[in-house]
């Protein structure tokens, strides 16, 4: 295979595309299977599992998911939680990242090192006391439990700090001489320049919030407050003999993130790539 090294000849190009296309089929097939199955009826699924189409496209499966299991409600709940978490994370990490990158204060480096240390500690370690804490605040079974603890992000703060450190110092020195306050500088100079970094942070927060499962499972109990992943696990229990319904629901959970990814691919990939490189 040619890979990274040279300009490709015509036949090399041909084989490269053949290999990549075959891998693409493997990577995409489960999604095709999901959509295809979600538009069949149950007997059609079992008689011809590989078939892409049944006798007709049964969009009513999606209607069933909305009407009988209230997926619309779960989606709204999740959207609300996701927006709050995402906006909150961006605000706190821009403020904190700026403080770490550009301001001098005693204890700064110590605090920053503690932040870095937290990235390695898995959530499961604090899950049990977090539950107790939610009981204490009376946030069990409320959206607060899915939002407020998640607004702080060491990882996002780290990302924004790295980005701000790359901006030239002269920017703010000029603004300071003009008598601007730090907050004005952050808002008028830094934030407008940080579009790509904020977009990257957005994609990370968004994925995390929309796809999270174990914590909602613990913190949310009544169906009216379920998030999509919980609703989906619940549907699997109730409709386990009807794969079209289950996979229609799965499609409703999976497609929003895939669509956002297709629209903003660059930022998703950039976030991952920079963490690997730094």
């Amino acid at each position: 295979m040619i890979g990274s090294i040279q300009r490709a000849t015509r036949s090399q190009k041909f084989w490269l595309y053949v290999v990549l296309a075959s891998i693409a089929v493997v990577m995409i097939y489960p999604f095709v299977f999901m959509i295809a199955t979600s538009l069949k009826d149950t007997p059609e699924v079992f008689s011809d599992i590989l078939g892409l189409f049944g006798a007709k496209l049964r969009f009513e499966n999606y209607a069933t998911v909305f009407n009988n299991v209230n997926m619309g409600r779960y989606m709204l709940n999740t959207a609300f939680v996701t927006i709050c978490v995402t906006v909150g994370q961006i605000v706190t990490s821009v403020l904190g990242g700026y403080a770490f990158a550009r301001l001098n204060f005693p204890g700064r480096d110590l605090i920053f090192r503690m932040y870095l240390g937290t990235i390695m500690i898995p959530f499961t370690v604090i899950m049990i006391p977090m539950y107790k804490l939610m009981l204490f605040f009376d946030w069990i079974d409320k959206f607060q439990s899915l939002i407020i603890p998640w607004i702080f992000t060491a990882y996002g703060t780290f990302l924004m700090k790295q980005f701000f450190q790359g901006l030239p110092k002269e920017l703010e020195e000029a603004a300071l001489l003009d008598g601007a306050s730090r907050f004005q500088i952050l808002r008028r100079v830094f934030v407008p320049l940080s579009g790509p970094a904020i977009a990257t942070q957005f994609t990370i927060s968004f994925l995390y919030a929309w796809n999270s499962f174990i914590w909602p499972l613990v913190a949310i109990q009544s169906k009216a407050n379920y998030v999509v992943t919980q609703g989906l696990a619940d549907i699997q229990g109730g409709f386990h003999a009807q794969p079209p319904i289950v996979l229609a629901a799965a499609a409703l959970v999976i497609l929003p993130t895939v669509i956002v990814f297709v629209l903003a691919q660059r930022y998703f990939v950039e976030g991952v790539a920079t963490t690997g490189l730094k």
């Binding site: 990577m27 904190g96 301001l103 937290t118 049990i128 796809n211 959970v253 999976i254 790539a273």
Partner: protein, 360 residues
């Protein structure tokens, strides 16, 4: 900043103090502003991270059950989880029952919580399985995508799509693909077997038997199925990291090596892999950390079965802590998982000094 410096400084929490000078008015103002900017973030860190972390450590030494006040029980939880006793008489019984030597020795060890050990073994097998399947594949894919040919960004995006999909949704899709009867995988395997039999039976060869694998119902297969699924889901993530690192390798290096008569194999083994060791290191560590936390897949697809073949430590922790409310015990399990993550990471950092290439 490289991965190395990020962590070597992590272990050196306290910096040597420089003699403190009285702060100027401007410096004091800056410091106050610094604290104010950091405040929302820092409050979250203290209330929703530092405090729960200390509570968790405390709970792991208590019999906390959510409803009663926790009582301090010392290291009892840890003893219950990892402790074992040796029972010599079991060896005699096993030998009398014509067990093999290894089985007989094994039967002497009586663990206090066999399910914990099963879950730990499963989790480690899972993390290593995903690592072995995805790291070489991801590297190879990145190598291909680094070609100077049109359409590579398109394929990169395509391969990355599984990464952004919710694990719970993906688990359900694969649940139906993994079905023993009429699941996609077995139907395809049956098709291939029939095709091959059609070719070889006329030649007088014995027909191949259709294996009809119980992907999620056969205890020998269930964990492998979860490994296959997660590998499919994360290979794109690792690939993107490798690709970014490959793209950072100056092309001149390749060209110079080619001029000097190096083969492609030489270039890959002697230039690219050494240059990418920090990235490989990063990928290995993050994959292990993520793999050890597996929960949603067994919860959705197998409920830890069949016969505890897919029970994982975090799933066991969830059962103990939130279904049986043995929260003290659950907390100790969480700390054991963290201990393993910490040990793996530290050992990797130690080893990395030997195999990771650092510039300068």
């Amino acid at each position: 900043m490289s991965v190395q410096t990020a962590t070597s400084s992590r272990f050196r929490l306290f910096k040597r103090r420089t003699p403190r000078q009285p702060m100027t008015k401007a410096a004091r103002r800056e410091a106050i502003e610094g604290y104010l900017f950091l405040l929302p973030n820092f409050l979250g860190f203290v209330i929703f991270f530092a405090i729960p972390l200390l509570m968790s450590l405390y709970y792991s030494f208590t019999d906390y059950d959510l409803f009663n006040e926790p009582n301090f029980v010392g290291i009892k939880n840890y003893q219950q989880a990892v402790g074992f006793s040796i029972q010599p008489e079991a060896y005699q019984t096993a030998v009398q029952n014509n067990k093999s030597f290894i089985d007989a020795v094994g039967s002497m060890i009586k663990t206090n919580d066999p399910i914990f050990w099963t879950s730990l073994g499963n989790t480690i097998v899972y993390a290593l399985g995903v690592l072995i399947l995805t790291v070489p594949t991801a590297f190879w894919l990145a190598w291909l995508l680094n070609s100077k040919v049109r359409g590579m960004v398109f394929f990169r995006g395509l391969f990355y799509i599984p990464v952004v999909a919710a694990i719970v949704g993906v688990a359900l899709v694969w649940f139906w693909m993994f079905q023993r009867e009429s699941g996609v995988l077995n139907v395809v395997i049956t098709g291939i077997v029939n095709l091959l039999n059609g070719l070889i039976t006329p030649l007088g060869l014995k027909p191949i038997v259709d294996p009809t694998i119980g992907w999620l119902t056969d205890p020998n297969w269930a964990m492998s199925s979860l490994i296959i699924m997660r590998s499919w889901q994360t290979v794109g993530y690792n690939m993107v990291i490798f690709l970014a690192a490959l793209q950072a390798v100056p092309h001149m290096l390749f060209e110079a090596a080619l001029v000097d008569g190096a083969t492609r194999g030489d270039i890959r083994a002697k230039i690219v892999v050494p240059l990418l060791t920090p990235t490989i290191f990063f990928v290995v560590v993050t994959n292990i950390i993520n793999g050890l936390q597996i929960f949603a897949e067994p919860y959705i697809m197998t409920q830890g079965g069949p016969a505890n073949a897919t029970i994982t430590t975090v799933y066991y922790l969830y059962q103990k802590g939130f279904q049986r409310f043995q929260m003290g015990y659950g907390a100790s399990l969480a700390w054991i998982v963290f201990g393993i993550i910490f040990a793996v990471t530290s050992v990797q950092f130690r080893l990395s000094k030997r195999w990771v290439y650092e510039e300068g």
